[in-house]
Symmetry: C2
Subunit: 278 residues, 2 copies
């Protein structure tokens, strides 16, 4: 079995696999690329992680994730910025082109959404040079507005672009994640506007009822109601030529054997996304 060459399996889809296992599963499924997460990398240590990745022969499409820097100035903001510098270095060491940024929600006891959004922009401004030196791109991910207060104050692709376009696309870009943005009446216009600033394209599907923990409501492409054709065409027309990640948070998907999940991902991508890639 060989998967479509642009498919990348985001490691979160096989959440319970450690790094070595995730690399093995991905290769065994015939997938050429993987999106990594920092925690499993940290478990084995960065140096060993780099060795494992090199030995696997897989491309690393992105590292998840930096961000969580919406808090006001002070020690915890400094710690967050420092942690993001480490994440940038890890991204470069692993050979990934982009570090995915999840902005963070409202600080505890704050109702100042506009202020939090300003501080996210400022944090990215502080980090952009470091990303440039490391040769990687900070990829701002707009999360669905249902996560605005507790996870990400960046809620639309347009808002992510308002930040990203203040910087060269080699340093700051955006993630287009279908689950998070498909609902947006202005989406196609935003994707067109994004152009070279698209640093990552992630496909997964939306279905209702949402899971009781709304974080776990993501589905394989084809298992929900998203029409991937116009979105994917727009992303291609904008010039995006990178890997396309499948990233699923879903307890049922996680409870399945990891090799089965990888095979199912290959199938879903082949039937729903690959025909759109020309």
């Amino acid at each position: 079995m060989t998967a479509h060459p642009r498919l990348s399996l985001n490691q979160a889809t096989i959440k319970y696999a450690g790094l070595a296992e995730a690399l093995r599963v991905t290769s065994a499924a015939g997938i050429a690329a993987i999106g990594l997460w920092r925690e499993p990398v940290a478990e084995v240590g960065l140096a060993r992680a780099v060795e494992l990745v090199t030995d696997s022969g897989l491309r690393v499409s992105s590292l998840c994730r930096g961000g969580f820097f919406s808090m006001p100035e002070g020690p915890s903001r400094r710690a967050a910025i420092d942690d993001n510098r480490h994440a940038i270095d890890e991204t470069a060491a692993l050979g990934a082109p982009a570090l995915v940024l999840v902005a963070g929600g409202l600080p505890k006891d704050s109702k100042d959404l506009a202020g939090a959004r300003e501080r996210v922009r400022d944090a990215i401004g502080e980090l952009a040079d470091h990303a440039g030196s490391a040769g990687i791109s900070l990829a701002i991910e707009a999360l669905h507005p249902m996560y605005v207060s507790d996870r990400a104050v960046v809620s639309t692709l347009g808002q992510a672009l308002d930040i990203a376009t203040q910087f060269d696309p080699s340093r700051v870009g955006v993630v287009v994640d279908t689950f998070h943005v498909f609902w947006d009446p202005g989406l196609l216009a935003s994707i067109a506007r994004a152009g070279d600033h698209i640093a990552s394209y992630q496909v997964c599907d939306w279905a209702t009822p949402l899971a009781a923990d709304v974080l776990l409501s993501r589905h394989q492409p084809g298992d929900g109601i998203i029409d991937f054709a116009p979105l994917t065409s727009a992303v291609l027309a904008a010039g995006y030529r990178g890997d396309i990640e499948v990233e699923i948070f879903n307890q049922k998907v996680w409870d399945a054997p990891v090799d089965e999940t990888a095979a199912r991902t290959v199938e879903a991508f082949e039937s729903v996304i690959a025909p759109l890639l020309g």
Copy 2:
């Protein structure tokens, strides 16, 4: 106890009260206006409902709800349009200025969000004259994007305005419901653009974690993270002078005695919203 003169208790906040009981509870709490729902009106019949409302001396701030007309042409669409004509007549009979419209989600087995949105616009176009003749306004409610697929394909105030501004504000307007729109980075600009098209202002709060049934995640003003000051200022600056409804879907609120809920609503409005009304 007398509540702020612009407070209106939406009947959904005391869901288990019938019409007569809801009117009694509202008056007893010193509230001068009520937002009604069609089902409790239908339970007693329209003529009797009009008598009860007249006898109560309360203003009716809106009738909930019309809409649910996102399906393609055919008998069920015709039935939905007809039902909306009845809802318009009921709104006028009850002396309410506005019929709240919830667009409806994607039709079964459809992934065509753009098409559903077109059909919502077309349905409103069909109904606008009837609303004009009846002397009421169709109030398009943008629902939070987490409801886009199963409840309302109108997801932002800007999108609602793209429809409403095709019509005279006496016929078609929008609802500004804080819970549904607070997250929107473009919200203040949209409220300013809305101007005379604001047909209803509803205040309720957002808190996480969301309820397992995400429909029931609405809270009393002050019990969540919304900063009502900038939103309310913008609504006032846009020229809105009507009633301000508190509409809560929340199992705990519903399980409380209805008089207690009404009193709690008066308190919440007094402490959080009234100071913003000048």
